[in-house]
């Protein structure tokens, strides 16, 4: 090399050469970049995707506002505390997500997902109208319900409104539809879920064990009749995912807490007050939008009139009545 260290006569041509090379690199980079975002690429864009009345772009606003990327990854970028969300919509489907998000501290049960499927709008988005068809179409939801349903999660309960959840679903629908060039890689491993669990945790692992409550099956009549109605009600409340939104004390999760509710005076949004007796609580379950408690939004709680039988509603009411003394926070 003719230009040795510290030889100042060579500095200027060297510098010039470097800038020219840099210019060439920049040109290549810009050329590639332009081709990455042209329409011929056929990449899904937010303006093509809606979920109900909401657009994917509205959802992106919510996604950023809650800094979801601070715990989760999206297209693999973000934090690694929770799972990647890119394909969550495709895997678990809208009904499971809609059942999960209002009370992210608990995993939804099958009943809670079924509750979501009562809504005709949800049926249209999910493309199915029965829970059986749903679980077949979204195998991720089936897995989640079977292993986690009714258990607690590591995620904090976030104060999502129903509207925000709709928007988030629109955004996740968009990210699921994106072409990410084969990432994350397809799972090719042999065997079913139990085989894979044993590969992860050792041959002695029993998949159903652990802290998880068993999958929420619809309670059979035989099991239900001899029980104390309050105990029966407690189990129903868990299976149907009620406890995801309603605490057993006075705490406000998504809906009002049940502790000390029975027999108390409830202030309604129209300014009147009403005593929380059997009739009021029953109506709140089967027609939740008839009377809204002061400070809550209508339309958040699904209508349970077609999901619960009359005696089941009665059992839940007696469970709530049994929580009269539990006012502690």
């Amino acid at each position: 090399m003719s230009c040795g260290a510290g030889d100042s006569s060579c500095e200027i041509p060297r510098r010039r050469g470097a800038f020219v090379m840099l210019g060439v690199m920049t040109a290549i980079f810009i050329f590639l970049s332009v081709f990455s975002f042209t329409r011929s690429r056929n990449q899904t864009v937010p303006s093509q995707i809606t979920y109900g009345a909401y657009t994917a772009d509205q959802g992106k606003h919510i996604f950023q506002a809650y800094n979801c990327m601070g715990c989760h990854t999206l297209v693999g970028n973000g934090a690694y505390l929770g799972p990647d969300l890119t394909e969550e919509y495709r895997l678990a489907g809208p009904a499971w997500l809609a059942a999960f998000l209002p009370s992210a501290g608990g995993w939804p049960t099958e009943a809670a997902v079924r509750t979501q499927l009562v809504n005709p709008g949800m049926q249209a988005e999910a493309g199915v109208d029965t829970i059986e068809a749903y679980l077949k179409k979204y195998p991720g939801a089936a897995d989640r319900i079977a292993r986690r349903g009714g258990g607690t999660t590591s995620m904090p309960n976030l104060p999502f409104t129903q509207e925000e959840i709709g928007k988030l679903l629109a955004y996740l629908k968009y990210t699921s539809a994106m072409n990410t060039e084969g990432w994350p890689a397809k799972i090719l491993v042999k065997g079913d879920l139990n085989d894979r669990l044993r590969m992860a945790h050792g041959a002695g692992f029993t998949p159903t064990g652990g802290q998880v409550a068993p999958a929420a099956a619809v309670p059979t009549e035989a099991a239900a009749t001899p029980e104390d109605p309050a105990v029966h009600g407690e189990r129903l409340a868990r299976d149907y995912g009620c406890i995801a939104c309603h605490a057993s004390d006075k705490q406000k999760l998504v809906g009002p807490g049940w502790g000390g509710l029975y027999g108390s005076q409830v202030k309604l949004s129209d300014g009147t007050s009403v005593t929380a007796d059997d009739a009021y609580i029953t109506e709140s379950i089967v027609k939740p939008n008839a009377q809204i408690v002061d400070g809550y939004t209508p339309g958040v709680m699904p209508d349970y009139s077609t999901l619960l039988k009359e005696d089941e509603v009665k059992a839940i009411v007696s469970y709530i009545a049994s929580l009269r003394g539990q006012e502690k926070q």
């Binding site: 040795g4 260290a5 510290g6 100042s8 500095e11 060297r14 470097a18 090379m21 690199m25 920049t26 290549i28 980079f29 590639l32 970049s33 990455s36 975002f37 990449q43 864009v45 937010p46 772009d57 992106k60 606003h61 919510i62 950023q64 506002a65 809650y66 800094n67 979801c68 990327m69 601070g70 715990c71 999206l74 297209v75 693999g76 970028n77 973000g78 934090a79 690694y80 505390l81 895997l91 986690r148 590591s154 904090p156 976030l158 104060p159 968009y174 994106m178 072409n179 990410t180 060039e181 990432w183 890689a185 799972i187 090719l188 491993v189 042999k190 894979r196 992860a200 945790h201 652990g210």
Partner: protein
């Protein structure tokens, strides 16, 4: 050496602020480590995402404070005159404090889902990794960068008289401001948003910070060994040139899976594989600069951190970056803990240690305690160095397990399956975190109280122990051949790690679900690499210390020598 220009003193306040922000960042790091073990900890009070946003933003802020402190200290020396507009620099100092406090409070709004949307821009916080600050803070930060660039460019001599270090710092501080602009817009499309987010993150780290880093390392080596700036000019020039030629298109390694086309996988794999070149180059030069020059080490902690910065840049940014830069390895490492190992070593190692090195060099001079007690500084170095290597180990191995359970077996229940498999490595985070915290506290205490503690008489530090020992074995001068062997071993282990990530593609792993090979290669590669790194730094410093024992105390003739920076 003494302060030659009054405005050099302004660097002191930025170094102090740097140390305070460093302290807070480390506290947040410990909270995050504890939350990794128990994710429900502080749930609803300080959620993980808020703590992480603070951890990242404070990290950026204190690294930038270190840069500003360094340029204020060396700027007048490089320009042979005072910094211009000292009032503006003082204003900047208070502005940084206000921005940090503002951002501290606005990040909590993420728990309520409040971003402050107005005119389709998030004004209070924007929930994008590394760029969590909202638009208000973002614009103020831009103004701050503009002030820095203005002060630097106005202080520097006319452009015709610039040497390579002037070019590096001049371009670096200007680009610091320019690149930030790409993070100041809301973008609807996720792929386009990620594309521009990496403009800021990648081009900052790979294009701007690294250029400032190379220039400052060169400058401090000249100052420390009282050399001529021309002796590092060549290295600085090639360092910067290679950084930009590889890093510009190297950004493509972030565009593999974000929804951009497949051709980026080719460009990214090719060019970012070249990214370690300047780092090897810089690494080699710190060896040459320190060893061809036989001067004794006057300020050991400053050199310790300078060496740590260069070595961890090679290992953390270079080698651990290289292993996951190919589309075939990145497809597994992407979105897992494997990347966090690289990030901690690269960011704290390269840039954090540079700031600490600069503080250790400048503060004794400003406070007029040139022969200060160096033992605490050395201890602090070894603690943070061990701590961060340990964190990288936990993240990398934990990440390898995560790849297997999450990406190969497809188990996506973090609370039930992933945490269960990663448990041991999660537990290692707070453990190595404590080692790191101990080091950080030592450094903070040492630097903040420097010159205010009871003075130890000069010459009683550790020269007395080493003086009569013969300089052999572990302490003998490091030859170029030996340094080359160390470097070779680092790359051997780097190759093992790369093969480990590649082996996830084998049908034996992907179809049969047998993790033996990737686990074995990771189990050899990571500990091997990190251990070699540690031993090499130990060996390098031992040979430097031995030189001090031979040369004895610096003489007055040494003190009279002046480095030439122009």
């Amino acid at each position: 050496m003494q302060i030659q220009y009054k405005t050099q003193r302004l660097s002191l306040r930025f170094f102090m602020l740097m140390l305070v922000l460093f302290g807070f960042q480390v506290i947040y790091g410990m909270i995050l480590a504890a939350q990794q073990v128990d994710p429900t900890l502080l749930s609803g009070v300080l959620n993980f995402n808020v703590a992480r946003a603070e951890h990242l933003n404070l990290g950026i802020m204190w690294i930038v404070c270190g840069f500003i402190g360094s340029i204020l200290f060396v700027g007048p020396l490089l320009s042979k005159r005072e910094m211009v507009a000292p009032w503006l620099i003082k204003f900047l100092f208070y502005a940084v404090i206000v921005i940090v406090l503002w951002n501290f409070f606005t990040q909590f709004l993420a728990e309520r889902g409040v971003a402050g949307w107005w005119l389709d821009q998030p004004w209070l916080q924007q929930g994008l990794e590394y760029l969590e600050a909202g638009r208000i803070a973002g614009i103020l930060i831009f103004v701050g960068f503009a002030i820095v660039a203005f002060v630097v460019l106005r202080t520097f001599p006319p452009i015709r008289q610039w040497n390579e270090v002037h070019w590096g710092l001049g371009l670096g501080f200007t680009a610091l401001m320019v690149v930030w602009v790409f993070g100041l817009f809301y973008i609807q499309r996720l792929d386009l948003q990620e594309y521009f987010r990496w403009f800021v993150v990648h081009y900052w780290v790979e294009g701007v910070w690294e250029v400032i880093h190379i220039s400052l390392i060169g400058t401090f080596l000249v100052l420390m060994f009282k050399a001529d700036i021309k002796s590092v000019g060549f290295a600085v020039f090639w360092g910067i040139t290679l950084v930009w030629l590889s890093g510009l298109i190297g950004n493509a390694h972030h565009y593999f899976w974000i929804g951009t086309p497949e051709f980026w996988q080719f460009w990214g794999s090719l060019f970012s594989a070249l990214e370690p070149l300047p780092l090897v180059f810089c690494f080699w030069h710190i060896y040459l600069d320190a060893h061809t020059n036989k001067r004794p080490l006057e300020n050991a902690p400053a050199f310790y951190f300078l060496l740590g910065s260069t070595v961890l840049e090679l290992v953390g940014a270079g080698i651990l970056g290289f292993v996951m830069t190919f589309a075939l390895t990145n497809v597994w490492s992407h979105g897992t803990w494997v990347t966090a190992g690289h990030a901690h070593l690269a960011l704290f190692g390269t840039f954090g240690m540079l700031g600490l090195a600069a503080a250790y060099y400048a503060m004794p001079i400003i406070r007029k305690v040139p022969h200060y007690d160096q033992r605490l500084g050395k201890l602090g170095f070894w603690l943070v160095f061990t701590g961060v290597l340990g964190l990288a180990f936990a993240f990398s191995i934990g990440g390898t397990v995560q790849v297997y359970v999450y990406r190969i077996l497809g188990l996506d229940w973090f609370g039930g399956d992933i945490y269960r498999s990663m448990g041991v490595f999660k537990l290692m985070l707070p453990i190595f975190g404590l080692v790191f915290v101990a080091g950080a506290l030592t450094i903070m205490y040492d630097l903040i109280t420097l010159g205010q503690r009871v003075q130890t008489p000069a010459g009683t530090f550790d020269h007395d122990v080493t003086a009569d020992r013969r300089v052999t074995g572990w302490r003998k001068p490091l030859t170029g051949f030996e340094a080359g062997i160390w470097l070779l071993w680092m790359w051997v282990f780097g190759t093992v790690i790369t093969l480990g990530l590649l082996s996830f593609n084998l049908p034996r792993v992907r179809v049969d679900g047998d993790p033996t090979l990737p686990y074995l290669l990771a189990g050899v590669g990571y500990p091997g690499l990190l251990l070699v790194t540690m031993l090499f730094v130990w060996r390098f410093l031992a040979s430097m210390e031995a030189r001090m024992a031979v040369a004895g105390e610096p003489t007055t003739a040494d003190d009279a020598m002046v480095p030439n920076l122009v």
